[in-house]
Symmetry: C2
Subunit: 570 residues, 2 copies
């Protein structure tokens, strides 16, 4: 078979394979190639650049012995797919479920995750979003320290494991979104530098050096990332990608990497004949992110929307520290529910500057909103989740909102387990500095630093979901609440209507309650610890976290910290 | 059950049902309602407006006795669906197959069409597009004389018949596009006028009076059409609509009906959780048609593109009469293959004015292109299809083009049957004038009028496909050619790549041959009756309508009237 590698500045490249080193021949554009007829699926190899190495293949599809070991030939045709009936899943109308493979189950593998799919189909989840699966150093990691971006963490089950997971999801009627990190590579096990100008030479974010998207040699670096996206969508049958922290992509070229990616993915959708989704994690509050290419936008299908999270979180938790400051108070929540974002050019006290731009005309399905996600739980020092009362109210608003709702694993049963930050770096200096990196992240939250050690295996083990909790009434009843909300969202078109200009919100001047109107349906939330009366006329109760209290026919009286969905005839 | 009807100018409305007339009560907005507890699925009824009538319900879901008979209650929940595994079909990458239910098979019913689905799955068709199914007067009609737009022609099998057809298609992995006519209603059996201001009072096209989209009362008239679209997509599980002749929609309101429809359909896609498609038949050559709403466009998923048809037709047929005049010559074909349209502002000799605007940045999948369709065959006086040699070359170019290809039933085996224009009007003056209406349509073609009588049943019967032809070698080999082309398109991503700016075309100054490059693949067509040599270097032949002739390694020598697809290594 033919081995190919890009190493534009090298004067000699060799491949170490089958017990020997063989020279590679230079080709146009800085590429080198060698024909190794005896290499087959599974053959280990590495590249030697000007005598240094061997290093893993930058495009290694498999690292059977981890990020410091050799690459292995992996033939995509080796896996036999059984999802022939799958025709894809449009993002519109979908409920997303974010999970971390290592902590979703006890064994922490794709195989174990497959056994839990029935739980997700019972919840009527449409798409699972799995946190990054690229190989990482050590035995546990959130995934954002990934290297070897074309390979799959062996701890989870490697390439075949991911394929069998996607295959099983598709057979169960569930699509798969994969979280990919293109704005940096992990601090350890990254051997791209000897090969070419993959990095920009400056710190792109506090996660590390920026990738080179607009400097000399960036044509091939961009292909590295775009081809990577193509691999997941084409060869792994993935339905969409969640692009980590796109605000940390530094690209001044006339066609931004995301626009180029969007156009390539559009063409790939023609090849595959199924919808493909690109979701950007962006904190820019810039609607161009989700505007179509034809509208001069970057063409993302959707973006994560922190403003909705922050406003929901403040309303249900009462917290307002750090970057939550601007989001305290129900007018903020009312604004995000009707405008999509709070910061549409307004002053952000956290950033100490104006922030964002109005999302006029953007349909709500382009904004992925959540009450909790890996960051918002895991970036709390104790990795603690919201309490039950907050979950009930927050989920009630989220799952009747005009946005694409996303749940975080375990949220649906008020999991008692935390989701802590954890990693397992091999180098002592990285283990030691992990606390410092973390502390910098916490700065924005205004937390005192007193979190468990990320490198302690306990931080990982404690974060694994405890599925036996589902035997307990309090967890089971929360799961019923979530199931009922998802089912109601899917039964009543008005609840998933993405038109923000149709959402009407009434709020209590005293900040105790909020009513969100979705056509004839009123979603009434009482955040306070006392009963409140809300102006919802003659109605039928469809769903209530607590039975509403008796009241006169033209109002609705809500129990403390409760949410009720009613229908008012027109 | 509650009966509702809009009749804003009426002073009294009655319902005739269960053997008697009952008064209806006025409601806000010009609506009238009556509760008829004994009415059930199947109950016949009609409305009496100020003593006139009874007339069929404008929103009648069933006309069991035809367009002049009573309406019948039809409960959508009465049908039990079995397409639960269907998750929709994105238009991107799709091959469409247009068919007319009445002539697709001998019996001309949905039930008979279901029996032919295996033929379509073997051809790897992704979407069938069925010509309009609204009730029409008489026993046969193309469908564009439809009235009772919410009902389904009983001759084909009525509402349940359509549902079972869609259901069967979905189980076979095929999506369904329904052709709907919103720009006019048929000249006979249309009883909308007594109810309200459905019409604009002027001739909107030569098919009849324009519908009232921007005059007084047009809010409800627009809802009439938009709710109709919703019905098909929601209650009939239809995957997309083909909107007939949208250039005959007269709408000066700030939000064009199509933009309003697009926004509604986007919201419905959230409810249904599957992609929904809107395809406009437009001869405006205006790219706003397919630009997203966010880009100030009308938000159609795609539009029919006559320019591609005309250029292909001229190249393979040698015809250049009537509106084909500007499309003669290979430079015209080269331009449409690389720009999407010929008329991008250039002078149209047929229209005697400049026409169109550039489609810059529009991906090719938004342009539905064909070599033949019901109009392009049926509007020829003899309803004659292209000869075999023309089909082979034309299909080869169409199915490797950047557009969304559409085939017309029978084309894939070079059906020997014509597709004639036919109708079956009850009123003598309409039967008599059908020829005149027809003649006016032909004016654009420059044909002498000598076509079979549209009202003669023979015109209908002769147009039915003759499936026994498939036993003959010449038809079977054509089917193999089409199957091979579709399969190749789906196997090689470059062949469906929608990016027009990546298509490169070389043409013979003498007009004998054209080579379309799709990445490393060359699609070489020889239109002439002699062998030609084309500048396609060292290559591998992938598919050929005729074995290429011997030539030196740097060229390809094509047999007369043949098409060859080759790969040139990079």
């Amino acid at each position: 078979m033919i081995f190919e590698v890009w190493a534009p500045k090298a004067t000699a490249v060799e491949i170490e394979v089958l017990g020997g080193r063989r020279p590679m021949s230079p080709r146009a554009g800085g590429w080198w190639e060698a024909d190794v007829p005896d290499a087959v699926h599974g053959t280990r190899y590495g590249y030697v650049i000007d005598g240094d190495g061997p290093y893993p293949d930058p495009r290694s599809r498999r690292q059977p012995d981890g990020v410091f070991g050799a690459s292995a030939v992996y033939d995509h045709d080796h896996y036999t797919w059984s999802d022939h009936a799958w025709t894809g899943r449009d993002l519109r109308g979908a409920v997303i479920y974010e999970l971390h493979v290592g902590t979703f189950t006890g064994p922490g593998t794709f195989t174990a995750a497959i056994e839990k799919l029935q739980h997700l189909t019972d919840l009527c989840v449409d798409l699972v979003e799995i946190m990054p699966v690229a190989p990482v150093p050590g035995g546990r990691n959130w995934g954002y320290d990934g290297v070897d971006l074309y390979a799959v963490n062996e701890t989870y089950g490697g390439p075949d494991g991911l394929k069998s997971f996607v295959d099983a999801c598709h057979r169960a009627g569930i699509g798969v979104i994969l979280d990919v990190v293109y704005n940096h590579l992990g601090p350890s096990g990254n051997f791209l530098r000897p090969f070419g100008p993959y990095f920009g030479g400056f710190e792109g974010s506090f996660w590390g050096e920026a990738v080179n998207l607009d400097g000399p040699g960036s044509d091939e670096v961009r292909r590295y990332f775009i081809d990577n996206a193509m691999q997941w969508l084409r060869d792994y049958h993935i339905d969409g990608l969640r692009l980590d922290a796109v605000h940390a992509l530094h690209d001044k070229r006339a066609t931004h990497l995301l626009a180029e990616l969007s156009e390539e993915v559009d063409a790939l959708a023609c090849t595959l004949g199924r919808p493909l989704t690109l979701i950007a994690e962006s904190d820019l509050n810039d609607p161009r992110m989700v505007r179509p290419l034809e509208a001069g936008g970057l063409g993302m299908t959707a973006q994560w929307n922190d403003d909705v999270h922050h406003a929901l979180h403040c309303a249900v938790s009462g917290e307002s520290h750090g970057y939550y400051a601007d989001f305290a108070g129900l007018p903020a929540l009312a604004k995000v529910l009707t405008s999509g974002v709070l910061h549409d050019g307004s002053y952000s006290s956290f950033r100490e500057r104006g922030h964002g731009r109005p999302y006029t005309g953007v349909p709500g399905h382009r904004l992925v909103a959540c009450l909790q996600n890996h960051d918002q739980i895991g970036n709390r020092p104790g990795g603690d989740r919201l309490p039950a009362a907050a979950l009930r109210i927050g989920a009630g608003l989220l799952l009747t909102s005009p946005f694409t709702p996303m749940l975080f694993m375990g949220e649906e049963w008020a999991a008692g387990t935390p989701f802590l930050f954890f990693s397992d770096h091999v180098e002592a200096h990285l283990r030691d500095s992990e606390g410092d990196r973390r502390e910098r992240e916490f700065e924005g939250f205004g937390y005192a630093w007193e979190a468990p050690d990320p490198s302690d295996e306990e931080s990982f083990l404690r974060s694994k979901l405890d599925w036996t909790e589902l035997k307990e009434e309090e967890h089971w009843s929360m799961l019923s609440w979530y199931r009922d909300l998802v089912a109601l969202r899917k039964a009543l078109p008005e609840l998933s209507d993405p038109r923000l200009d149709r959402v009407r919100v009434d709020t209590d001047p005293d900040g105790r309650w909020l009513v969100m109107w979705r056509g004839p349906y009123a979603v009434s939330a009482n955040f306070s610890s006392r009963p409140v009366t809300v102006p919802v006329p003659v109605h039928t109760v469809l769903l209530a976290s607590d039975t509403p209290l008796p009241s006169n026919p033209s109002t609705l009286r809500l129990a403390p910290q409760s949410l009720t969905i009613t229908r008012t005839p027109h």
